[in-house]
Symmetry: C2
DNA sequence: TTATTATTAGTATCAGGTACTAATTTTTAG
DNA sequence: CTAAAAATTAGTACCTGATACTAATAATAA
């Protein structure tokens, strides 16, 4: 429930600013009802606080997350691939941010680090399709939100469909992660040979 | 570059439909220029194809990804926690989708499975803050996009700050993953004891 | 050539605003 | 208590990107 009594300008604007972050989809009319002031007041407030109009806010959310979702979930590789010798080695870089971390400690959640490592390992092996079979990993040091993770992968050995890849991740020359992956290359369907 | 010659209705509408998925931020005016037809034609097309207006499209993108980003990156646990005995065991469920998978094969990328397992392991141990130290994992069977992953975690042993947690993930009673995690509980700062 | 289909034109209306002017109310100071 | 300042409200014109609708014109098929 919203406060029933009217707020003064300062308090209202403070609340408004916060509200806009949590619920950016409210019209000026909604807001004017919520704060029990006129629409004009809301508009003055937004003007003073530099808060864009509803449509602008929606668009911001849309554009921001449009990219974000694509870069988190849609991508073939977590982080940015900056060097690649197919079948041999590769390097990727991942800029960590606060939302990859525990809010309490600002320490980056392990699975983000793992994801960078595994996806780099996959990228390095010279195969159309692969799956991870086994991996053996160790987090050596905590990673803080904001740290730049540099991952280096090396193909250690290939035996049949199994590719053994080692990945080391460093932050400022300090190793924070090491992992050994056994990647299994999937055979092309041997079913038939149409066309 | 867009096709220079005018298209017929069928072709134009087909392209329009595709374009709206890739670039949902175009106004009718933009589209009318792109297709070299009048605005009215574009509007008729949208009407026939059931494509909402620009603002609706932006809002869709915004709302969809708003939730998505929150559920991917902002969450403490990957998947949905459905049972928890703190310090003993826990169960989580993760509905996989196409965008967690390789587009070629529709096989879910390993790191999503890992993330579910690791975050469940973290949730299970009875500690304020923890980090993964070591893990040893094996993907036993490929997971297809759409599969529902059921993860069960059990605390196997506790030794000092080290918690040994085993996680098994199944799809329809078939095990697809197993992992052993050693989680390290972080001590509260022993620095001082201010109020 | 005449239907039929597709395209274009034009008007009224809407939501959710901006930008601006002006009046009214509330608060603060002297 | 009262004048000045600050805050709030009112009102108008205008904007964008539409919907909804009517009607005219162009292109294509029978």
């Amino acid at each position: 429930m919203k406060p029933t009594g009217k707020l003064n300008k300062t308090a209202r604007q403070k609340l408004l600013r916060e509200l806009m972050k949590e619920e950016p989809f409210l019209t000026d009319e909604d807001l004017s009802k919520k704060f029990r002031v006129s629409i004009q007041t809301i508009r003055l407030d937004r003007l003073e606080l530099g808060i864009p109009e509803l449509r602008g806010r929606i668009k911001n959310v849309a554009e921001k997350n449009y990219k974000k979702v694509r870069s988190i979930v849609g991508t073939e590789i977590v982080g940015e691939l900056i060097d690649l010798n197919l079948g041999e080695s590769g390097i990727s870089v991942l800029e960590t941010s606060q939302d990859m971390a525990f809010s309490k400690t600002s320490l980056v959640r392990g699975h983000h680090i793992f994801s960078q490592a595994e996806s780099l390992a996959m990228a390095v092996i010279d195969a159309e399709v692969a799956l991870t079979g086994v991996s053996n990993i160790k987090y050596l040091n905590p990673v803080k939100a904001g740290d730049k993770l540099v991952a280096k992968a090396e193909v250690a050995r290939v035996r049949g469909n199994n590719h053994f890849v080692h990945v080391r991740i460093k932050v400022d020359q300090v190793q924070v992660f090491r992992g050994k992956f056994i990647l299994v290359v999937i055979e092309d369907k041997i079913e038939s040979k149409e066309e």
